[in-house]
């Protein structure tokens, strides 16, 4: 099977690699480009651990071929920190609100929440829960994930989030 040359922009950097048409985007990111922050969870489009941002949309990279992402603008968890290397608002929110325990779902949660806050900077709790319905966490019970996203949303709006973690 002949290989395809895939070029895309990831976290503001031009990247490229050779892969078979059947190579999934998540494998291309992790194995060809060594961006292992994006996790492989269920591999069946359910859990959202593999979520990346692609052309302004949250997508499950286990259910997309690398060739489908040809020329795309992709943001992964590696692109979520501030330019100076300090934690971005969502990373800080997850830390302050204890939004993770084992951490396996966290890259997908943060990348998904990033797009959610781009579209809705001041979401209600219900909107957050509906917005992250495609991301499963088996540790936290979601309470502190919701608070982490609220914490980040407040910070990005220049406000302070006054609630404590559960």
């Amino acid at each position: 099977m002949s290989k395809v040359h895939v070029k895309l922009k990831i976290n503001d950097q031009e990247m490229e690699g050779l892969c078979e048409p059947r190579t999934l985007l998540v494998h291309f990111l992790r194995e060809n480009l060594s961006l292992t922050g994006t996790h492989i969870g269920c591999e069946t489009t359910h859990c959202g651990a593999c979520t990346v941002d692609l052309n302004g949309k949250s997508v499950k990279s286990c259910t997309m071929l690398a060739v489908q992402a040809q020329g795309a603008n992709v943001t992964t968890i590696e692109g979520m920190a501030n330019a100076d290397g300090t934690m971005g608002a969502l990373q800080e929110g997850f830390r302050q609100m204890h939004g993770l325990q084992c951490g396996y779902c966290t890259p997908g949660m943060i990348v998904r929440a990033h797009r959610l806050l781009q579209e809705n900077p001041n979401p209600t709790e219900e909107e957050i829960r509906f917005g992250i319905a495609g991301n499963l966490c088996r540790c936290t019970g979601y309470q502190n994930i919701v608070k982490a996203i609220q914490h980040a949303a407040a910070k990005l709006r220049g406000e302070e989030f006054l609630e404590a973690a559960e």
Partner: protein, 286 residues
């Protein structure tokens, strides 16, 4: 888990796509891929080639043409949810799209893929049947149009012939109407255990027009014609609604799978038909 090997082709036009599909033995159309790729990973589907429609701009977009809303086949569920035209003219599509999968899947999954896939678990086919939508189809030599109500032939079997692609969905804008899509699912992201779409019009306290269609209660989506007829001309009291539910149940033939036994699914199927009818009546009266 990765798919078997295949050739990948990304045409720039519908003509190029249909030509390739027609001459290739076992090629599949790739729209959003959120039904096809999981099936390929499980090796339930093993196409020799994929024809990716993502590069064909003509297949995208939502517009109003005369008395119809025309939706390009590659329009995503997310775009349907974001559309003011849909909200204004066919809000039933919004109600149904919100119940499909999860945000990530709705960003990528397309309306065309949902209706052309032929999986009875897809939600939009029953909605399109209830709205009496028409699918615009382009083949290697000619174009044609097929009503949603006669498009579905069996499990993963549709009216599509070799080399044909659904390019757009045309929905006649209904007048003042009540509507509902009621779906029982085990969790967010799941296919329906049972689902029902209802579109109806009320006049002077009686149902003057009605269409009812069912999701995942048979090998194909089902148009519950007798159920709708049981309501038309009637004041929608418990007796008339009961007769409609009984008529809908009579055509249900759901699979025995992890979502329940056929008996259970027919039982809840009837309950969801009743809920959808009552919601639509309340909306039509309001």
């Amino acid at each position: 888990m990765i798919p078997g090997t295949f050739d990948y082709f990304r045409p720039r036009s519908v003509a190029e796509a249909t030509k390739f599909l027609h001459k290739s033995k076992n090629a599949s159309v790739l729209a959003g891929g959120h039904s096809l790729l999981p099936m390929m990973k499980l090796r339930v589907a093993a196409p020799s080639a994929l024809v990716d429609l993502a590069g064909i701009a003509a297949l995208r977009g939502i517009k109003k043409v005369g008395g119809n809303i025309v939706i390009g086949a590659m329009t995503t569920q997310h775009e349907v949810l974001a559309s003011a035209l849909i909200a204004k003219h066919v809000p039933l599509l919004h109600e149904a799209a919100q119940l499909i999968a999860d945000p990530q899947v709705r960003y990528v999954g397309t309306l065309g893929g949902n209706v052309a896939n032929g999986d009875p678990g897809n939600d939009m086919p029953a909605v399109m049947m209830a709205l009496d939508a028409t699918y615009k189809i382009t083949g290697p030599t000619k174009r044609r149009a097929v009503k949603a109500r006669v498009f579905y032939k069996g499990l993963y079997e549709t009216a599509l012939k070799s080399g044909e692609i659904v390019t757009a969905i045309e929905i006649p804008v209904p007048g003042k109407h009540g509507f509902a899509y009621e779906k029982l699912k085990r969790k967010i992201g799941d296919y329906a255990t049972a689902g029902a779409a209802v579109v109806l019009t009320m006049k002077a306290g009686k149902v003057s027009a009605c269409a009812i269609a069912l999701t995942n209660l048979g090998a194909t989506p089902l148009l519950a014609d007798a159920a709708a007829k049981a309501l038309v001309g009637q004041a929608p009291d418990d007796k008339a609604i009961g007769a409609a539910v009984a008529a809908a149940r009579a055509i249900m033939d759901p699979a025995n799978d992890t979502r329940g036994t056929p008996e259970y699914r027919k039982s809840v199927g009837g309950i969801y038909v009743e809920r959808a009818i009552r919601c639509a009546i309340a909306a039509a009266a309001g």
